[in-house]
Symmetry: C2
Amino acid sequence: MSTASKEIEEGFLFQPKFDANGLITAIAQDCQTGQILMVAYMDKEALKLTIETGNAVFYSRSRKKLWKKGEESGHVQKVRKILVDCDQDCLVLKVSVDQGQCHTGHQSCFYRTVSDKEPQRLEFIAEKVYDPNNAYKK
Amino acid sequence: MSTASKEIEEGFLFQPKFDANGLITAIAQDCQTGQILMVAYMDKEALKLTIETGNAVFYSRSRKKLWKKGEESGHVQKVRKILVDCDQDCLVLKVSVDQGQCHTGHQSCFYRTVSDKEPQRLEFIAEKVYDPNNAYKK
């Protein structure tokens, strides 16, 4: 292993690796239940704001701008810890939440599972926990 | 919301969205403990093989080829469930594992956390659980 790789994998310096688009993958995981809530992306500014404010801030690839999670819905994520993986190109945010986190109304974006019997089919494994029509102003 | 989006988000058809490089993000999560073990990528073939064999198969971006998890180390992942998110561009694999999953020797790739006091510093939150020098043949 090169010295650079060793420093990234075994070192104490946080040097997040942003991709060609300037983004890093960030997984929000409920710090109480362990449930994976959503996967999003951060640019350098979003990561800085997340660390500074303690609330999750992402970069929206579709809207091409910073996205303070909960700015519309009110469903914020309080960031308790930020974990980074071996090659420092992915983050896990351990978050506290008090409301559903998916824009569809589910607690988690991962509310469906691939069917064991028919792998082209999905099965729902969760009910909606809030009404997105009320949370998102038209 | 468009009809296409509604079908993707609310429908029963599994239609994973591969990115411009033909890849989809896949998060391996321990189905017993909820710990996030690693984040990797799958192409269409890797996903097909994962579903068919029940063992996690990824696509290695660095080696540019299919990567049967554990083919070198023996540290395989038995896939119990595959979850997909709202817009179907990310997967969670609920896996059973019996050995450390990170090539560094840690159980999880996420063995460091960003320091609360000095956000440019990392703190180790886990010890190694196996010796990678023994697991990976030179």
